[in-house]
């Protein structure tokens, strides 16, 4: 996976600083994120990894006291100049806790296409099926699409949320600890799914679980106190970390 330097970039981040009120949460972050790879963001709690991925689709702006500096380019487009609505159509997101809407499975998946103006029933049917297949959930739910999504298990709910994100046909999927609320079996299914998804999507995933990062990612960024300590191919970083702090974290000395 060392040919990533030749790939085009989805994100190019330069000197990103972020404050919550007076607290500085991200410090001078400059990294380039290549296309169609799985990027894992690891680090101890409160190191800014969730904040970081929320800057990528500007969800972080929902926090009233937030202030950012520096630049984030999404495929050469300065995201500060983009309309958030169109940016978030290209950059989907899956959250820590499964958060389906209290609607039917079908309506959950069709939510995104509908808010973007698609009304045609046949098109919606196709999108729903394609998205659920994409999230490896179609076979489990195809006979009960009109049932409330809350009736599904936690792992299935999380895959509904992934399918919902896929339905607006994004290029990038941000995942904020998507398996931290799930049991090991559901976690394994989501990890398999991420393996499938990386063929067509760029995935940036925050995880608490270092083994998970090792299993699923091509590259890993290690965050500590709002800084990127190390960003490298996952194999190289796990076998031969350059920074002492990365080594300490990976070997479980803290965190």
């Amino acid at each position: 996976m060392n040919n990533s330097e030749n790939k085009s970039l989805v994100y190019s981040i330069k000197d990103l600083n972020l404050w919550y009120g007076d607290t500085k949460a991200l410090k001078n972050i400059s990294i380039d994120i290549p296309e169609k790879e799985v990027i894992a963001i690891i680090g101890p709690s409160g190191c800014g990894k969730s904040t970081f991925i929320k800057t990528l689709n500007r969800m972080v702006e929902l926090v009233p006291s937030v202030k950012t500096e520096g630049s984030i380019h999404y495929k050469k487009l300065d995201i500060k100049k983009a309309k958030v609505e169109s940016l978030r159509t290209e950059v989907g997101m899956v959250f820590q806790k499964p958060n389906p809407f209290p609607k039917s499975i079908y309506d959950n998946i069709a939510y995104g296409p509908r808010i973007h103006g698609i009304k045609d029933k046949k098109t919606l049917d196709e999108v729903v099926e394609r998205s659920l297949r994409g999230a490896a959930l179609w076979e489990e739910v195809k006979d009960r699409l009109d049932e409330n999504a809350f009736g599904l298990s936690g792992g299935q709910q999380q895959r509904v949320c992934i399918a919902r994100a896929l339905a607006v046909e994004p290029d990038v999927i941000l995942m904020d600890e998507p398996t931290s609320a799930l049991d090991p079996l559901s976690t394994a299914k989501i990890e398999d799914l991420i393996h499938e998804l990386r063929k067509n999507y760029s995935i940036i995933i925050v995880t608490h679980n270092m083994q998970q990062a090792a299993r699923i990612s091509d590259k890993t960024a290690f965050f500590l106190n709002g800084e990127v300590i190390e960003f490298d191919a996952t194999e190289r970083m796990y076998s031969n970390p350059k920074d002492k702090r990365t080594d300490d974290y990976i070997s479980g000395k803290f965190g």
């Binding site: 989907g92 959250f95 809407f101 209290p102 919902r164 607006v168």
Partner: protein, 292 residues
């Protein structure tokens, strides 16, 4: 028993058990008192009024003779007033709560407004009647009409609807907003597709409960000059009106014993309406409440 031990002696345990039983007794008596008063009220009203309760009572106008007296004008008046109050208070109340919860900046001014909304909900209805008299009846020259009554009633229940709607909106978890925002929804789309569907049961429950307060409301409408005797069917919102509780009040204040019974019959009708409305509120709350 050992000395210096934290283990209590038997006597101490017995005292605690007695206190425990005593507490249960006090709370039971408190509840019993309420039930007895309610039962006494119902028995008195029903034994007194049931004899006058027939179809004629519902379809006749008020009359000088108790056996001919009916609540037609009062029921129609209540319906007219409510047909103004329901849309006005719901539209204004829900808009206000959405603005305060979704758009208003979280600053001192917003908090000041929210605090005063809660205070307004506790203002006596006579004061609202005075406001209605000054603003609607005199300043806007609506006269002592259904229109003025409906607007006054809307003001009266508006704070309660706003507070209930705000609670319903606030109960929606942030994760629901995040999910919609992350797919590129605008704020208005989120309000329409996430907030309103989730908050509607709570909003309706609050609205029905406050409307049932409005149905029984007397003082504010007396202030703006509701009549006590009407022998015609109101034809427009500019006509005079009376409502059920005022009709009951006017009968009950007459000296003849027969009119006391007629008032009781009117109370039964009012009670039935209130019970139906409150039951509706409970059904909506139970059937549509969402768990996240």
């Amino acid at each position: 028993m050992k000395n210096n031990s934290v283990t209590p002696d038997e006597k101490q345990i017995d005292r605690r058990i007695i206190k425990n039983k005593l507490a249960k007794g006090v709370f039971f008596l408190g509840t019993l008192f309420g039930i007895i008063v309610l039962a006494a009220l119902l028995i008195r009203i029903f034994t007194q009024g049931i004899a006058y309760l027939d179809f004629g009572f519902l379809s006749n106008f008020a009359s000088r003779r108790p056996e001919d007296a009916g609540i037609r004008a009062a029921i129609l008046g209540t319906i007219w007033i409510m047909s103004i109050t329901i849309p006005v208070s719901l539209i204004l109340g829900v808009s206000t709560s959405i603005y305060l919860e979704e758009y208003a900046p979280r600053n001192k001014f917003t908090r000041f407004i929210e605090l005063n909304l809660a205070n307004l909900a506790g203002v006596p209805s006579v004061v609202f009647g005075l406001l209605g008299l000054t603003v609607f009846v005199r300043l806007l020259e609506m006269g002592r009409s259904i229109l003025a009554g409906g607007f006054t009633m809307s003001l009266l229940i508006l704070p309660v609807i706003v507070v209930a709607s705000k609670e319903a909106i606030r109960a929606i978890p942030q994760e629901q907003y995040d999910a919609a925002y992350a797919m590129g929804a605008t704020k208005w789309q989120i309000i329409r597709t996430v907030v309103l569907p989730a908050a509607t049961p709570g909003i309706l429950t609050g609205a029905i409960l406050s409307l049932s307060r409005g149905v029984g409301e007397t003082a504010s409408l007396l202030m703006i000059g509701a009549m006590t005797f009407i022998a015609y069917t109101p034809a427009s919102v500019l006509d005079g009106f009376t409502v059920l509780p005022i009709q009951i009040f006017s009968w009950a204040s007459r000296p003849q014993a027969e009119f006391q019974a007629v008032a009781a019959a009117g109370s039964i009708v009012l009670l039935v309406i209130l019970i139906v409305m409150n039951t509706l509120a409970i059904i909506i709350r139970n059937n549509y409440s969402k768990r996240y």
